[in-house]
Structure formats: structure tokens, C-alpha cells
Symmetry: C3
Subunit: 272 residues, 3 copies
């Protein structure tokens, strides 16, 4: 059984992150995205800028078979419809049948009862990575959630809950915040890059979840995948903020920076 | 009974607009958006830039309960589906039960029969603000509508129709155009800010409706809410246009300007 | 019967493209778009920047009647739902009843069986233009398709398949790629404008399909319509790339350039 107090510092290195980022850019993993209406376009653009190949195949008629072909699957619970939830169920079935890694982003878990039930059911299907804000992680672990999609908790206060999720999923959990907290059953990694304007861009967290799916197709280590995606995205955001005037100009600039980010540049910039 | 000729000049002051804008930035109202597929992302980004908190909770399974928690609700009839229309009905029920103010944006009313029927039914539920272009306002009042989502009428020609809507809704009506015309049962306010490029950005009007919902959570006076949102948005658009090359660069710049717009700066710039 | 080897060089002139582009800007055709969730906003913005009037009327309740009013209809098969596919069927029925020209963008045809069946059925309804990447064109003609929405073939290898589509549709087929290949029953036109960053912008091809629909409302010659839209879009992309830092800043700049593109400027820049 995992306890937060039993976590130790991670053993991830800059070289590992650079290798994973290089693999993403070289292999161009096919990432099947079942995500919300708000973040669909941005998520696809983040994947394309990073060098991955997004495929928004989410109809129940195609989702299961496609998950067997995809390199990874992203499941995001924002703006659910009856049909999109069926599509998600099919995709997760397909991913499990074929061993395709998948990421769960339980938008609104804890704060919205219907959706929380769905998120809990998906957790039992053992997502390779769970990504959310602190309130969603706490809510998914059975605590009270946030305000809609907003977090009212700090990432450090969600580490214990994240460890409970890890017990059930067997994978990694990424808690977003000013300092991103990433855990698996043994390790805790902290990443403090990014910029406050990122919190004023809708779907910015959802798009990071898509990037995690791309990375989880490129390494066997879910924590490394989550850390690589987080580092690349938030380092790119820092650079983009220097070239921007506010949250509106940030996002185009972030995509530009992500497209230009080399493995060497990532390794040089990231502080683990 | 209200007649267009009985309207008098408004009594709104720059100080009131500044106070309402300050309240939005301080309180960060939670705005539940049930809006169309085209404008979802932009609407959320406008709310975030302004300092509000968007929540795109639109499934019939969650919409009613969430409207009891939200600070305000936006209902926009663009790109309707059977399920989204059910979600809207639930949200409006929830808003009425809990006294949550709500904004109706009757996209396509008058020009599209099915949707016009829905819009008329929603008008009877007494939206706090109705926002639309001139053809939609005329169409919702029973006249012939526009061409799809396009207006073929001028705002001044829709003031009489707006007054008929006010009789039924009891709130304010905002008619968008080169000069925005805002009315309630007693007053008419005109605002001439903005830029022609704004008409070449899809969802720009819909996003203004979302901002009106954020403002209506911050004042008891619907006309003041509509005026504050319109003034902030169009003043930001004017400033953004000076920094832009066309409609594509306008929108990121508008979000930047909105994020930087202080109550003092708004009061200094607005011409009432 | 048409054979690829029987195609001869086109007879399109720069003056014809300029005239068609001028007609679009003058008439502002009303383009009904039934398109995917990823590309909706960009497609509408491309149409607005070009001077057309987008109308995202896709519910089965309104799609048929609206197709009788619209200047042209765009049908795109990305992110299908049960309801959106019904809407598409209704819109195509309405377009055929009223003689409204329409464009088919068979996203994922060949690679995804369910969707391929729908695309084949729509081809039999004789779309005025079919637009797709090489794998989609090959897939729709009965060959094996690509990887999700990605092409794994080159446009020149799809010309034979495009000719088979022309036999069935009677219209033009546009194959996108580094060099765009456009065919009708007699002619082959090549256009080599554009920029690699365009392939890193999600929905960029879908938005070009929307622009083709706007152009097909302005000329009786489908090949000319496809060529005008392709030329305007890719010339604007070239100019935008010079002002951009990567795929993120490309798209706002492309919209700016499209809004500024005069018929004279298009004629001067295009290489046929």
C-alpha cells in the first residue's frame, strides 16, 4: 500500500526527459483524443506543434477499433454527452484489449456527481496516467471537489489523494498547479515552470493531458511521460510569456515555442 | 406598457460601470455557459481574461443543479442539438428555482423556425438580459429575422422590438451593431465603441453575451450589466485593433487588452 | 470514362481566379457548414476573413430547409455523431432539391470503415467538389486509406483515384498536399503554394474546404472554384509564414492576409 509519507524523491534525469521528447518528435505517435468541446482544437494544435499526430476519433462506432491502432488514448470528461461517454467507454475497452496506454483527465470530478461516478468507473480501468487539478484529484479519491472545473485546493494538499489513486490505477498521477506535483507508487517529482497567464487560457490543462498521452506512447515509465510533457509544455509557456502581452497572445506563442523546442533545449531549461 | 418613444436617456455613469467591472474582477463570478460549438472556446477565454470563471456545464444531467451553484447562466442557441436543448431547459429551470440571473442569446431567431420557437419559449422564462443582433431581436419579437446568424437590420430599427421583448422578459435587451443599443423598460443607452474587424471574428458577439452573464452576477441592474460588458469588450477591441493587422490578430490582442483593462481605464475611455 | 492518362493541362487563367475571388468578396455567399468540432471555429473565421458569410446550421431540424437558402453547403465528416450525420443527410437532400452546390470533405475515408460507408453514400449524391488528402481520396475510391485523418500517400499517387471519383460525382476533386492536385473530368491543375507549418495547424485543410464552398457559389466551374480557394488560401499562408514564428502565430496571420488579399494581388502572386 502506498502512502504519501513513503514517497521519495524521483530518480528522473534531464537526459531521460530529453530522450522521451526526442522519441515523440521522431516517432510522431498517433494520439486518439476523446476530449471536450472547449479544448479540442487547442489539444490537437499542441500535439501537432510537438510533433505528434492527433486523431479526434470519438464516436462509439469507431472508438474501440481505433484504440487498437492508436499509439495512446486521451480520455477527458469535460462537456460530456451521452454519445461521447459511450465513445469513451468503447475507447477504454479497446485500449485495454490492445494494451494501448491511456490518460484520464477527470474534469469536474468531485464537484459534479454524475461525472464523478463515471470518473470513478474509469479509474477502475487503470489509466496509465491520471491528470487533473488538485480539487479533481481529491474529488476522484473520494473527497469533496472544486467549483466546476476550477481547483480550490493546492497541489501539495492533493498528494495523499493522488497516492490513493495510484493504488487503484497502478500508474502515475499528475496534479497541475503553480508547482506541478507528479507521483507514482514510489516517487514524487516537482516541476515549477509555467506562467500565471496559462491559467487564463481555457483548455490549457486539457491540452497538457493530450501531450502526456503522446509522451506515454514513447516510454514505459508513466511518471517520466508525465514529467516530460509537463516540462516541455511549461518551459514553452515560460518562453512564450516573455514574447507575449497577455493570455491572448500567449497561446499562439506557446505553440510556436513547442514546435521549436529541441530535446537539448528542454534538458538545458528544465529544473527537476 | 413600454413604447420605444417613451424611452428616455439612461442615467448610467462611468463610475457605475467602473464599479461593476471592479466587482467582476474581484469576485470572479462562476458563469455557467450553455453555448454553441463555434463560440465555446472564445467565450471561455473572454471570461478568463476578464477575471470571471467559466464552467461549460451543459449536459441535462448536471445543468439544473449547477445553475443553482453558478453566479450566472449564459444560454446561447447556436448549433443546437437535441441534448443541448434539453440541457438549456434544465439550466433555465435551475436558474429560476435559485434566482440565478441568466442571459439569452437567441442566435438565428426569426430566420430559422424551429429555433425561433425555442427562443420564444425561453423568453417567457424571463431572461435577465436578451442579447442579439438587430435581426434576432426583431425576429424574437415576432418580425422576420435575418440570414442565418447574420443581421440584415440596423440596431436603431430594432429598438421598438426590443421594448416588446422587455415587456415580456422584465429585464434588459442589448442590440449589437456599430452602435450598440441597450434598453430596459425605461432607458436607452448607446455605446459606439468597437471595430469593424470584430464582425469578422466568429463568436465575437456570443462571447460578449458570456461577458454580460459575468456582469449580471455583479449588479442588480441588468442594463448596467449589459452596458459594462459592452463597454469593456468594445473598448478593449478598439485598443486591440490599434495593435493588430486584421481580424486574425485582433482576437488574441483583444484578450490581452481585456486582461489589462482596469476599472479606472474603462471609466476614462468609455463614452456614454 | 475518364482516365488519369487522358487528363490534359488546365485552361484556367490568373484573370479567372481573380474574377472568382472578386465575386466572393462582392457577393458574400452564405455558406452552410456541417463540419467537425475541431475545425468549426477556424472554418468560420476563414470564411469571414475572405468576405463570405458562414452559417453553422447543422441540426437535422433545420439543415434541409437552410440548404435551399444557402449559397453553398460544406459537408465534412470529421468528429461524426449520430445527429450530425442525420443533419448532413438532410442538408445534402436540401442542396440537391434546390440545386445548391456542395463540397464533400471525407475526413478519414478509407481508414475508418463506418465513416467510409457514409462517404461512399454521399459521393453517390454527386458533390460539386470533393476535397481531401491523398489517402482520403484513394480510400474513397476504394483503396486502403490513411492513419486516422493523416495522409500516408502523395497527391500525385491519388490522381488516378481522383479521376474515378470524378466519374461518379461529375464534379471536381481537390487533393491537398505540398503540391495541390486538382482534377475534373478533363483537366489537371497543380498549385504549389503554401507552407509546411500549415500541416501543423489542426483543421487547416477543413477550413480550405469551407473556402471552396464559398468559391463554388461564385462560379459555374467547380475546378475554377477549387483552384481559386486553394490559391487564395495558400498564397495567404505563404505571406503569413513570413510574418510568423511557427504554426501558432501562422493562423492569426493567415486570417489577416486573407482579409487583405485583393483579386489583383492574388492574380499577381499565383503560379498556375
Amino acid at each position: 500500500m502506498t502512502h504519501a509519507h513513503a514517497l521519495r524523491g524521483h530518480d528522473l534525469t534531464r537526459a531521460q526527459l530529453a530522450t522521451t521528447w526526442d522519441a515523440l518528435r521522431t516517432r510522431s505517435p498517433l494520439v486518439q483524443c476523446l476530449t471536450n468541446r472547449v479544448a479540442t482544437t487547442l489539444s490537437a494544435n499542441v500535439l501537432l506543434a510537438a510533433g505528434a499526430s492527433p486523431a479526434m476519433v470519438d464516436t462509439p462506432r469507431e472508438a474501440r477499433a481505433f484504440a487498437g491502432v492508436a499509439s495512446a488514448v486521451l480520455v477527458n470528461l469535460g462537456t460530456p454527452t451521452e454519445e461521447s461517454m459511450q465513445g469513451i467507454a468503447e475507447a477504454v475497452t479497446g485500449a485495454r484489449e490492445s494494451g494501448t496506454p491511456w490518460v484520464l483527465d477527470p474534469i469536474g470530478a468531485g464537484g459534479l456527481p454524475w461525472r464523478s461516478g463515471i470518473a470513478t468507473g474509469l479509474l477502475a480501468k487503470r489509466p496509465t496516467i491520471v491528470r487533473g487539478n488538485a480539487s479533481e484529484v481529491i474529488g476522484l479519491a473520494g473527497g469533496r471537489g472544486g467549483r466546476g472545473a476550477d481547483s480550490i485546493d493546492h497541489p501539495e494538499s492533493a498528494v495523499r489523494a493522488a497516492c490513493r489513486l495510484v493504488e487503484r490505477s497502478g500508474g502515475a498521477v499528475a496534479i497541475s498547479g503553480a508547482v506541478d506535483h507528479l507521483v507514482d507508487g514510489r516517487r514524487l517529482a516537482l516541476l515549477g515552470h509555467g506562467h500565471p497567464w496559462l491559467t487564463q487560457v481555457t483548455g490549457a490543462g486539457c491540452a497538457l493531458g493530450a501531450l502526456m498521452a503522446a509522451c506515454v506512447a514513447c516510454t514505459e515509465d508513466p511518471l517520466l511521460a508525465a514529467a516530460t510533457a509537463t516540462a516541455a509544455y511549461t518551459v514553452a509557456a515560460e518562453r512564450a510569456a516573455e514574447l507575449s502581452r497577455g493570455p491572448g497572445s500567449l497561446m499562439p506563442a506557446l505553440l510556436d515555442e513547442l514546435a521549436q523546442l529541441t530535446p537539448e533545449s528542454l534538458a538545458a531549461a528544465v529544473q527537476l
